[in-house]
Each structure stands twice: as structure tokens, then as C-alpha cells.
């Protein structure tokens, strides 16, 4: 028993008593169950486990604070309508937006932020961190920190390209199927069924074994694999709109299919499509990261998070966490996008319960 452990429990129990006194039932339940969990974890893992919990709680509080501040900042700089919507955004969504913003800045200004080039060998392999290298060197002596920054540009950029392509193919086909109907609709529906009935990673591996691994092929393959999801959603959403009276009226006016898609259907189906774009991005991003991890995605020396994990994995057996940072960067971005999408879905569909 030392001061840290005593202080830890005193703080937790004191805070839960305060919460109970002021009638904050949920906060009390959370704090007190954390105390109970700490007993178990503390006995099993000792003092260091309690330190880990403290650090996690600190990180959580810090990110909640950042999210709150970022939301206020967004509310202040945006127009009235947007500000109104943003005010109701949960902290998780605000945190997601903050993370996406940070990644965007990192990706766009990568050459300015990174202290070294992405393929520049500056020291010996697996050199420990020092003044010039924040996170040490990788297996070839390149600066880890710079490569992570460049990875934001390469990995996320590639995933964004593939998502955009998948999205445009899928959405266009879906809108076309909904407006034309008939045989075209049937044929496209069956093709989508077939593509969706093969697990995506397996399908990607099959195609990559045939066409070889280069970036353009990778983007096209990933886009083809994920476009049926968008196709189905767009077709379902547009299918509900096509039967509306105003579409009938536009048809009778003699408007063409393209006009219908552009002016009548699209403006009425943007909300679910934007949410789908976010989800689709997560899937594509995870697939590309997985392929890169397997050594079949983005090829060296381009800095990429998936392959960085694989290349530096040996460090893990020495208890280093450096290889986990790029993997964590992938997870963080996906979580952030999911948070924002959750909020959008909640807003658009009214998933209140």
C-alpha cells in the first residue's frame, strides 16, 4: 500500500459518494463500478494496472475536453443553421470530427510537418528514439514519426480514392437501376448479389493474385468489391422516391432520366448517402490496411500504416509499442468516422430509441 493506491481509491470513492449525494445516479453507478473493477484488477495486476486505468481515464477526460472545445469552436465559426445542428451533436461525434480534421491536416501538410523524407534512411535499423527522431527508426533506419505522418497522406488518400470510385460507380448504377427499372435493374441486382456473396478480403486476394499489385489495380479492385453495397442502398432509397407524384409529374413534363436523377432524386436522398459514404470509407480503409499488412497492398518504399505494422512487428516481442502506433492510427480514424456516421444516422433517420 502506498500513497498512490490510497489516493486512487480515496478519489474514486469520494467522487462516487459526491455523485450519489447530488443525485447523479448514472455517474455514481459508473464511478462505483469502476471502483469495484479496480479492486479485482488491482489484486490481479498490482499497482501498474491501476496506473494503466488512471492513464486511460486521463486520456478519456482529455479527449472529452478536446471534443467539447472543438464543438464550441465549430459552433462559433459556422453559420446559424449548422451551428444549431452542431450544438446537439454528442461529444463522441465532436471527437470524431476533431480526429478527422487532425488527419486531414496531417495528410495535406505532410512534407511540412514531417522532419525527414518518407524514404530517407537517416540512422541504423531500429535505432531508439532521440532528439531528432521522436519515435526511433524502423527496420531500415528511416524515421518512424515522419513515416507515420506521410502514411496519413498515402493510406488515407488511397482509401479515399477507392471509396470515391466505389461510391460513384455504385450510386450511379443504383440510380440508373431505380429510374430505368426492368431488365437492367434485374441484371445489375444479380451481379451485385454475386459480388457480395464472396468475402471481400478473399475476393481481393484472388484478384490481386491475378492482376499483380500496383496502386491503380488496387483502387479499382477495392472499388469493384465495395460498390454493390452502395448500389443496393441507393437503389432502395431511390426506389422509394421514384414512385412519388413529383417524379411522375417530371416524367410527364418530358424530362430525361439524367435530369430526374440529378434534380429530383439526388437532392432527396443525400442524407443516407452521406452516412453510407462514411461507413463505406471505413470498410475500404480496413480492407486496404489489411492488404497492405499482408504485403499485397501499397508497396515499399511508400510509407503506409498497414505495411509499417508488419515490417516492425518484431519490435513487439521486445515489449516496444512503436509498431502499434500505425495500427492505432488506423483504428482511431475508423472509430472517428464511425462516431460521426452514428450521429448522422441518428439525425437523418431519427433512430431515437
Amino acid at each position: 500500500m502506498n500513497y498512490f493506491v490510497i489516493g486512487y481509491y480515496a478519489l474514486l470513492i469520494g467522487a462516487s459518494c459526491l455523485a450519489a449525494f447530488y443525485g447523479r445516479r448514472s455517474i455514481f453507478m459508473l464511478l462505483f463500478s469502476l471502483t469495484l473493477v479496480s479492486f479485482v484488477v488491482g489484486i490481479v495486476g498490482g499497482e501498474s494496472a491501476l496506473w494503466t486505468i488512471t492513464l486511460c481515464a486521463g486520456a478519456l477526460a482529455l479527449s472529452a475536453g478536446t471534443a467539447y472545445a472543438f464543438r464550441e469552436f465549430l459552433v462559433n465559426i459556422s453559420g446559424r443553421e449548422t451551428a444549431k445542428a452542431l450544438k446537439t451533436a454528442p461529444l463522441t461525434a465532436a471527437f470524431g470530427m476533431f480526429v478527422i480534421f487532425t488527419y486531414a491536416v496531417m495528410g495535406i501538410f505532410a512534407p511540412v510537418i514531417a522532419p525527414h523524407g518518407e524514404a530517407e534512411v537517416i540512422s541504423s535499423a531500429f535505432a531508439p528514439p532521440d532528439d531528432t527522431m521522436l519515435l526511433g527508426a524502423d527496420q531500415l533506419g528511416r524515421d518512424m514519426f515522419s513515416r507515420i505522418i506521410y502514411g496519413a497522406r498515402n493510406t488515407v488518400g488511397l482509401a479515399l480514392c477507392a471509396t470515391l470510385l466505389a461510391f460513384f460507380m455504385g450510386a450511379f448504377a443504383g440510380l440508373l437501376a431505380a429510374t430505368k427499372g426492368g431488365n437492367l435493374d434485374q441484371v445489375m441486382g444479380r451481379i451485385a448479389d454475386v459480388i457480395m456473396s464472396i468475402p471481400s478480403l478473399i475476393f481481393a486476394l484472388l484478384l490481386l493474385s491475378i492482376f499483380g499489385t500496383n496502386l491503380i489495380v488496387l483502387v479499382i479492385i477495392v472499388a469493384i468489391i465495395y460498390s454493390p453495397r452502395v448500389f443496393r442502398l441507393t437503389r432502395a432509397v431511390a426506389g422509394n422516391i421514384v414512385v412519388m407524384d413529383y417524379i411522375e409529374a417530371a416524367r410527364l413534363r418530358g424530362e430525361g432520366d439524367l435530369y430526374l436523377i440529378r434534380k429530383e432524386i439526388l437532392p432527396n436522398s443525400t442524407a443516407p448517402l452521406i452516412a453510407e459514404f462514411g461507413l463505406e470509407f471505413c470498410f475500404v480503409f480496413l480492407l486496404i490496411a489489411g492488404l497492405s499488412f499482408l504485403g499485397l497492398g501499397i508497396q515499399p518504399p511508400t510509407a503506409d500504416w498497414g505495411s509499417m505494422v508488419r515490417e516492425n512487428a518484431t519490435l513487439i516481442s521486445f515489449g516496444e509499442i512503436t509498431p502499434l502506433i500505425p495500427a492505432g492510427a488506423i483504428a482511431l480514424l475508423t472509430v472517428a468516422v464511425n462516431f460521426v456516421v452514428d450521429w448522422m444516422l441518428w439525425r437523418s433517420a431519427g433512430l431515437k430509441e
Binding site: 453507478m29 464472396i198 478473399i202 493474385s209 491475378i210
Partner: protein, 318 residues
């Protein structure tokens, strides 16, 4: 009962057709190679004689439909031809590895399915409380993390910092079951984390959907205790979506298994597939892809049939 049988047969027929289309797709994907398999395998240094000999050995002189039929009839009986890189029979290469992969997937499923359903129901009962929010964030994080991230975290904490489990799942034939379970615990746990999160969310959504319906409110209003509302009134109707969720996630295990096997150097077919892809060993790639796709389709089929059997409304489509 007659119409149920008819619907199930129809669904089965659809599954078989899908499987056939997939097999055509997997076979013809290799036909799309620039040049043909012989040229692709032998590469730049191939002499015309070499290529001709290879073509004859692989039977490439026959037209594609004939080769497809002989490949398919072989595949049905478990004969996938000869590997291009090692002159072994593909079936011999795959066989023992398939068993290991199935073992790992079963191990993960046995832990994950009961855990996820219980937790999912629990979270649905506690919805809109702090616990629900925390569970939401945790499951979302677990789903959003790539499998290799979770795997390496587990290695770091449970194998390196606290050496409880081995980081590399090396197996041998004469291992006892407890030993085997201990060795494969970390890869199984990785998959459990991902799949449980998925299943929990979907179970929660299914149950909450049900709890909003009027007959549940009626049960509540007449004073039935909360557990009785769930067990007697909600659960019988929730089976269909829950079966669906379980089957879909078992299918998801199949994709996850590739990455997890590579992280833990586990001798399964996922690892074999990745090796075959980088060596461009097409017969192996085709065989493994067919196995994965067939399992995926079968599980989806099982999900649909399970849903039809437990939900009478699905037997009368509009």
C-alpha cells in the same frame, strides 16, 4: 408444412446456383491473366518450349469450358489439381491446414456466441444508461480496429509483458487438447473480440426493435416482471434475428481468420492463401477461395433457413 419445405428447397436451389456462379467466376478470373497461366508462372525467362511443355502439363491446350468442367468435377470430389510451385497435390496441402483453421474458428465461435448473446440482451435491457453508452463505444472501437491491431495488443500484454500465453501458435500432432487450447488462445481471443462486438451490437438492435412493439408494452402494462417480458414475450420473436446475426458473424470469422493467422503465424489455410497469392500459385488460390466462398454462402444459407423456420411471417412473402 409443405409450403415451408418448398420455400427451403427454393432457397437451397438459389444457394447452389450462387455457388456455381462463384465457381465460374473464380475459375475464369485466372483466364483473365494477360497471356495464360504458363506464361505468367514461367515469367520473362520462359523459352517457347518451356511454355509449350507447361501448357501441356496443365492441359491448357483444351478449351476453357472443358477445363472448367474437369476442374469443377475434381473440386467436388476434393481434388484441386497440382500446386504450381511445389508439385504437391493441392488437396494434400490444404487438408491438415483446413482442419486447423476450422478448429480455430470453432474455438472462437464457442466462446463468442453465448457471450455475445448474453451481453447483447443485457445491454438492450440497460439501454440509454451509462453502461449502454460505454458498451457502445467499446464495441465500436473493437469493430473499427483492424484485426492485426487487436492481435498485436494481445501479444504485447498477454505474451510479452505478462508471459501467460505463447505469442506464436505453433502446433504439432501429438498435443493434448488443453495444451492445444492454451497455445491457440490468443488468436482465438482476437477473433472473439471482433466477432463479439459485432454480434452484441446486432443482438441489441434486434431486441430493441422488438421491445418497441405494442405487444411488449401490453405485457409491461399488465404488470409482468421485466425478465419475464424478455424471456417469455420478446425472446421467442427475437430468435430469427439472433440466428441471422450468429450465422452472419460466423461468416465474418472466415474473413477475419486470414489476418489473424498471419499475425500469430498459425498454420491454417488463411496463411496458405496469402503465401499462394504472393507466389502466384493459382490452383491453390482457386481452391482456397472456393472453400472460403462456399463456407460463406452456406452460412448465409443457414441464416436464411433458420430465419424462415423460426419466423412464420417469412413463410408468406408478399
Amino acid at each position: 408444412m409443405g409450403d415451408v419445405l418448398a420455400i427451403i428447397l427454393k432457397r437451397l436451389a438459389l444457394g447452389v446456383v450462387t455457388l456455381l456462379v462463384i465457381s465460374v467466376l473464380i475459375f475464369s478470373a485466372v483466364e483473365m491473366l494477360p497471356g495464360d497461366v504458363a506464361e505468367a508462372v514461367l515469367g520473362q525467362s520462359a523459352t517457347p518450349e518451356n511454355v509449350a511443355a507447361m501448357r501441356e502439363k496443365l492441359g491448357l491446350d483444351q478449351p476453357a469450358p472443358v477445363r472448367y468442367l474437369s476442374w469443377l468435377s475434381g473440386a467436388v470430389t476434393g481434388d484441386f489439381g497440382v500446386s504450381l510451385t511445389s508439385d504437391e497435390r493441392v488437396a494434400e496441402k490444404i487438408g491438415p491446414r483446413l482442419v486447423s483453421t476450422l478448429f480455430l474458428a470453432t474455438y472462437a465461435a464457442v466462446i463468442a456466441v453465448p457471450l455475445a448473446i448474453v451481453l447483447g440482451v443485457l445491454v438492450a435491457l440497460l439501454r440509454n444508461t451509462v453502461f449502454d453508452r460505454v458498451a457502445n463505444v467499446l464495441t465500436l472501437t473493437s469493430i473499427s480496429s483492424p484485426e492485426f491491431f487487436l492481435g498485436y495488443i494481445l501479444i504485447l500484454y498477454l505474451a510479452v509483458k505478462a508471459p501467460l500465453f505463447p505469442a506464436i501458435a505453433s502446433l504439432s500432432k501429438d498435443m493434448s487438447l488443453p495444451e492445444l487450447l492454451h497455445r491457440t488462445f490468443l488468436p482465438a481471443l482476437t477473433m472473439v473480440l471482433v466477432v463479439t462486438a459485432h454480434m452484441m451490437r446486432m443482438t441489441r438492435a434486434a431486441i430493441i426493435n422488438l421491445l418497441a412493439s405494442p405487444y411488449i408494452e401490453m405485457a409491461r402494462l399488465k404488470g409482468a416482471p421485466a425478465w419475464k417480458v424478455i424471456v417469455r414475450h420478446a425472446l421467442p420473436n427475437a430468435w430469427a434475428p439472433i440466428i441471422n446475426v450468429v450465422a452472419l458473424n460466423l461468416a465474418y470469422l472466415i474473413t477475419g481468420v486470414v489476418l489473424v493467422e498471419v499475425v500469430f503465424v498459425y498454420p491454417g489455410i488463411g496463411q496458405l492463401l496469402v503465401d499462394a497469392v504472393s507466389k502466384r500459385d493459382f490452383p491453390v488460390v482457386q481452391a482456397v477461395c472456393l472453400i472460403f466462398a462456399a463456407t460463406f454462402i452456406l452460412l448465409n444459407l443457414a441464416a436464411d433457413i433458420g430465419a424462415i423456420l423460426t419466423n412464420p411471417r417469412l413463410r408468406h412473402p408478399k
